[in-house]
Amino acid sequence: MTSHSPDIAAPPAAGLLARLASGKLAVLLVLALLVAVPPLFFPSGFYYRVGAIVWILAIATIGLNLLMGFAGQVSLGHAGFLGIGAYAVALLPSRYGIHGIAAMVIGAALSAFIAWVAGRPILRLRGHYLAVATLGFGILIAMVLTNEQWLTGGPDGMRVPRLVLFDWPVRGSDTWYWIGGGAMLIAAWLALNLVDSPTGRALRAIHDSEVAARVIGVDVARYKLAAFVISAVYASVAGSLLAFFDGHITPDAAGFLRSVELVTMVVIGGMGSVVGSVIGTLVIVVLPQTLTFLSDYKHIMVGAFIMLFMIFLRAGIVPSLAALVRRRG
């Protein structure tokens, strides 16, 4: 029962301060500080780039967490939606002259539609069967992106036209840092509102027990589908932003490894915690960058860190630390 909302649940002992810190607003404030403060210490544009990637991917992670942490459904194919969003903004502007923002919206709509159509049969499956179905689904998307070379440029990928807003070509890691950070905050705000709504409560009921939820009259299939569609839109938007930012996109963006990475980010940060999703993304993106001095030993350490995090903070970084603080406090 406590697994899904630790960062918004009030520690009883800490009193007023804790209750304030538990609100939606407080969560957003923490995230806003997380975006706003680090640039004061950034020595170079490289840090902006890493930061921008963290915020952009965090959007996808927050979306996936809505599906995994709240609705309790694991998807091993979510990078597929990331790919759809990315290739929408690569293809539509260059081939059909559609504006970048419109292409992003079309990509999100397409992802939503595909999730809605594919989600109906897929979400009837449970647990690991759902995982393998989404895995197959993601692989199919990645395969189309790799093989339909006339359209997508094939395995070497294709160029993404630069986003132009009101005659202003959007460029530079620092610009994208703030765009990514802003988009992530909006995504987090929407997610927090959703979690707090009747829909969110229904999703949590499904997470705890599908059968029990059904018995008390929750339309399980509908809510699961809703969570799937929403998370697909989140991933698609993240994919679009990433493609704009990178200026070049390859089918790796939609690959199985990317899907696994997204799931890892959700679980490491903490299922059911919006702040956790952001922290999980931060850890998985920044860890390999800080370990480059290990050269060939880098992957060993990344693997070891993932195992250690999960063994000692098994509910995820944010929920586990929150619980620890509560016990101490």
């Binding site: 197959g136 059968v211 890892t264 990344v302 098994r314």
Partner: protein, 290 residues
């Protein structure tokens, strides 16, 4: 007809590997509910260790034995050092641990061994046999026979030994098994060891045909997982059938329809089967307790 047979042999050979990986998934899943994504790394370790031992001058059969034993130890260590300490964590947490373990093992292998491709000699030479117009490598038959022997041994173990029954009891109901005096922790550790051994044997058997390198595990885990799910998770016969079916689908897909989308055929069929039979070909509905 010759063409059909040729595709079938190709599919069965590749499928036998998937089947052994799927079997490894199944054993561990039954004992612990863990989906072990490091399963493919066991296959890699079996193959790579044999290659490097034989390069160091150890005769191949002895090298293979040592490799299987070493991989079994790695499997046990994985359980003792990473899975057991996280006892009671959610299934997803345990899955992420195994993903961490697979990254870790790949990293270690790339340093202890190297990053190149390697092969082993065929057991009975590489002159193909001709069967009704299809040419088959003797090693393919070795792989199929090896898979068969492993399946039979497992069956005998579960059906004919007391300890095997204890494993089955643990799979069926862990609490009840514990209450009736079964050391369930030992059973889970044992499952990891056996899965690792099966993976390593698969690696030894197929390396002469498929070659190996430090990162062959990822794809094998992916296909083996899909095969295990197709058959019905937790069902050993289902795992074997699932593996062979995925292998055959790929081969016939490549031969008759499109070699570019052959992997797609396998996943489309898996999706179709799961939509019709949500618990796989052999799986049973699990009743959720509220």
């Amino acid at each position: 007809m010759a063409e059909f047979l040729q595709f079938a042999f190709s599919g069965l050979t590749v499928g036998a590997v998937y089947a052994l990986v799927a079997l490894g998934f199944t054993l561990i899943y039954n004992a612990s509910d863990v989906i072990n994504f490091a399963q493919g790394e066991f296959v890699m370790l079996g193959g790579m260790a044999t290659v490097f031992l034989s390069l160091a001058g150890v005769p191949v059969p002895l090298a293979a034995l040592i490799a299987v034993a070493a991989t079994t130890v790695v499997g046990l260590a994985l359980y003792k050092l990473a899975i057991d300490p996280a006892r009671g964590a959610s299934a997803v947490t345990l899955i992420i641990i195994t993903i961490g373990a697979s990254i870790f093992l790949r990293g270690v292998a790339s340093i202890v061994f190297d990053k190149r491709f390697h092969s082993l000699p065929h057991w009975f030479g590489d002159r193909p046999l001709t069967v009704a117009g299809a040419s088959v490598l003797p090693q393919s038959l070795v792989v199929l026979a090896g898979a068969l022997v492993i399946v039979v041994l497992l069956w005998a173990f579960f059906e004919r030994t007391l300890f095997g029954k204890a494993v089955l009891a643990t799979a069926a109901n862990r609490v009840a098994a514990k209450l009736s005096g079964i050391d369930t922790g030992f059973v889970v550790g044992f499952s990891f060891a056996v899965s690792a051994a099966i993976g390593a044997v698969a690696g030894v058997l197929v390396t002469p045909i498929t070659l190996t390198s430090f990162d062959v595990g990822t794809l094998l885990a992916l296909k083996g997982f899909a095969a295990a799910m197709l058959g019905g998770m937790g069902h050993p016969v289902g795992a074997v059938v699932g593996g062979l079916v995925v292998g055959l689908l790929e081969a016939f897909g490549a031969g008759y329809i499109s070699s570019q989308y052959k992997d797609a055929m396998a996943f489309i069929v898996i999706l179709a089967v799961l939509f019709a039979m949500p618990n796989g070909l052999f799986g049973r509905t699990r009743i959720e307790r509220v």
